[in-house]
Symmetry: C2
Subunit: 477 residues, 2 copies
């Protein structure tokens, strides 16, 4: 998952312009008992068969790392198309998505003085390389973006010609995004903010909750009119070392060599496959995850896990003796990590269909057990979702959190499509997120089976309900 980007609205605006009248809204009737029984049966079958981890394993083992536009990404698209066909999905296709391409290259760092030490670091996604021959400069530490601005206001030259070390620690805050949400702006905006005050490079403490010598990458963005300076994340232990070395009061010089760079623009694809509905196949319940990953690990928790969950849910729906009224569509989105191009391309490619998208689910929160659903829909959706929550309660997943969705489905919001995110336990998610440690051994197959069970029950209920979920109302102007 990548929730550090600024929202990108272009796709939404386009979709909104093209909207014909949506299908009639739902009126709070109880779900038919046949719907509930079939949803329960799928939920229980998901627990019994538990193949979500198998799909995640195949993606990580047979493809591995798959950053947008890389050879691994192309292999992943081919893998997805082949698997969808193997599973008997309909209308299987790879819908082209233009993507920016960035590759990592060499990356080394060292404290040059006062005590020579190797630093384990990794370039942030989108960083420019260091100049030919590397970058060496004295380091200045700040504890936060706020401190950076405050000190720059006091002493405008404090950071000029320096490598700025933004040493903000990400706290483990239990399940949820609180810790990461507080610090991720260091990664996305730190380089631009430091460069605005004359910094020649930026090091950040990894946005992560572990203490392994494995740095966390993730996307960063430059700002217009500000020099682009190289930016990298230190592993936690290396950030500790640099901070302790600075505490000696002696000048600390660091040398960086980053070979990362933009490549010519490329093409990736959203992989799409349908399980047609039995009566209203033109109405669509979308299940999304993202197919791309960062390059350091094999993208197991981010997001082979989510893909395993949605693929398994769709497989179970396809295998159900009673297909739901509506079509269930799986979309393996392209380029979630680096640019979100897949999520933006989908509503462009499917503009005419959007009024018939009755809901979009997303799974992109790792391998933890299900806790419930996050939801964004019309306010009248709540009594309906309460019935869905009852289906999920035996899994310990009965909670409903207003405001859910996910990065890939959020561009559908402008078209009013109700968004539903699978809410999962994430206490240890940011230990391995965006690191080399994001590998299949971190997947918990039992928890993933429960996730698929929760998702398939909810998806079935939404896809088989007599009337669709109330749509998201247009925003006040």
């Amino acid at each position: 998952m990548e929730r550090g980007r600024r929202p990108l609205r272009a796709g939404l605006a386009l979709a909104a312009v093209l909207l014909p009248a949506p299908v009639p809204a739902w009126g709070a009737e109880p779900l038919p008992s046949a719907t509930l029984r079939a949803a329960e049966a799928l939920r229980d079958r998901a627990l019994a068969e538990g193949r979500a981890a198998e799909w995640a394993r195949r993606l990580t083992d047979e493809v591995g790392p798959r950053p947008a536009g890389s050879s691994g990404d192309r292999a992943a698209v081919a893998w997805g198309v082949a698997l969808f066909r193997e599973l008997g999905f309909s209308g299987v296709r790879a819908e082209p998505v233009p993507v920016k391409v960035w590759t990592r290259g060499v990356e080394t760092g060292e404290i040059v003085a006062p005590f020579p030490q190797r630093l384990v670091l990794t370039a942030l996604g989108g960083s420019v390389p260091t100049p030919e021959g590397g970058l060496e400069a004295q380091v200045v530490r700040v504890g936060s973006l706020e401190e950076l601005e405050m000190r720059a206001a006091e002493a405008p030259d404090a950071f000029r010609g320096r490598i700025v070390f933004i040493d903000r620690r990400t706290e483990r805050t239990g399940s949820g995004m609180a810790g990461y949400g507080t610090t991720v702006a260091v990664r996305t905006t730190g380089a631009a903010k430091a460069a605005a005050h004359g910094a020649v490079g930026v090091l950040i403490r990894s946005i992560g909750t572990d203490s392994n010598r494995l740095p966390h990458t993730g996307v960063m963005e430059y700002a217009e009119g500000v020099p682009k300076v190289p930016a990298a994340a230190l592993s936690g232990p290396d950030a500790d070392l640099l901070a302790r070395t600075l505490q000696t009061g002696r000048p600390v010089r660091v040398r960086l060599v980053l070979g990362c760079h933009d490549e010519p623009d490329g093409v990736s694809a959203n992989v799409v496959g349908d399980v047609p509905g039995r009566e209203r196949p033109e109405e669509i319940v979308l299940l999304g995850c993202h197919l791309d990953s960062w390059d350091l690990g094999t993208g197991a928790i981010d997001d082979a896990a989510g893909c395993g969950i949605v693929i398994e849910a769709a497989r179970l729906v396809a295998a159900s003796p009673r297909r739901p009224l509506r079509t269930v569509r799986v979309v393996l989105f392209a380029d979630e990590e680096k640019g979100g191009a897949g999520g933006r391309a989908y509503p462009r490619a499917h503009a005419a269909e959007l009024p018939r998208h009755v809901a979009a689910f997303e799974a992109d929160s790792g391998t933890g057990r299900p806790l419930g659903l996050g939801w964004t829909a019309g306010p009248l959706a709540e009594p309906f979702l309460a019935q869905v929550a009852e289906l999920l309660a035996p899994l310990g997943a009965g909670r409903l959190i207003p405001g859910g969705g996910g990065a890939d489905v959020s561009p559908l919001r402008g078209a009013g499509v109700p968004l539903l995110g699978l809410d999962q336990e994430t206490t240890t998610y940011f230990d391995v997120h965006h690191t080399a440690n994001d590998t299949f051994d971190k997947i918990d197959p039992e928890a993933l089976a429960k996730d698929a069970a929760a998702l398939v029950a909810a998806v079935y209920a939404v896809a088989d309900a007599p009337a669709p979920l109330p749509r998201i109302p247009p925003k006040a102007p």
Copy 2:
């Protein structure tokens, strides 16, 4: 710590030849109350001042990695000499130790077929490099050394021309050496055993209890008359990946590039400093740790922690208002990890003094809290050590385990010197042992203060007892 080597007896035999009559043995009298009071005072002061972690921090931050014979090793020796002088120790000196030198160089691995994947691995200490251009071969997996031999007996060509993957998992067995002790022979002898059956290279599952993408290095040994083949350890997640890929039943090819190689022999040093005794300065209680480390991390738990403990214990003894009867000597041993040359050099250099060595303590078990003492001495030592254990009991460290010592002090055994190892909690020790993760942030300063408290109390009691500990009796011929 490195307990995988075969015992090296040359130094012992030499020492045994040179032994004059030892000092008179101890007769089980109770310790004088002045001794007990002073030992208790030092124990409590160690808890109050807690500087063991400070010495470990300085060694790891100011020196960093320090494999025997490297520039880091030379910096570490200079660091030790300077610190001993700063602390006011007497007779501070660096005693030369000839060492074999080995450097790591480039190391990469990849699964070439059926699914290309990068493998995170690290060369085992002492490995030969791969041939010019790398080594590529089909992989055969065995689950243990026993399986290797069994299958070679059944099919003598089973491993010919293959890379043998020894996939033995190290179990976490609570505190202690049980898990590591069971599997370490895979690392030390695996390459020689596989090469004896025609293997061209060896990969092992890291001898460690974590699931991080950080491989565990450690020493390995070749056998006479058997080809030397390159040997590396895969991180746990990479071993899992390789095992799963082999389970597909398709031929699996791996490519390795290892640049590691022997360098010309070098010189390191044991750093020695004394806190002279008040009445019998010629009688010596030795406190040892090892100064060298592996190169991947900064050797924090292995063994800056032990050095912090013994240095702090000696500092406290030196600062005591009542010096013990005997001299307390700190020795930072050279080359524990790669060859044990420092431990062997010491008795050679001090042969004439060995009969006056009344005990040798060692701390080389990481950063966990103290549990007690392991001991190897004459059987009559037990009632004495029971009194020492009472001093340690308030720290939760009152247990006595027969058979203690440590790699560096064990060459003193042949001279009959009683050996005492600080027994520590090690449940998570093998998570970071010999990996890049062995960094200062893993140090627990409070536990280390307790370790120093336990050690200084025990050392003081032994150094101030009216008669020395009963010596280790000569082995039956």
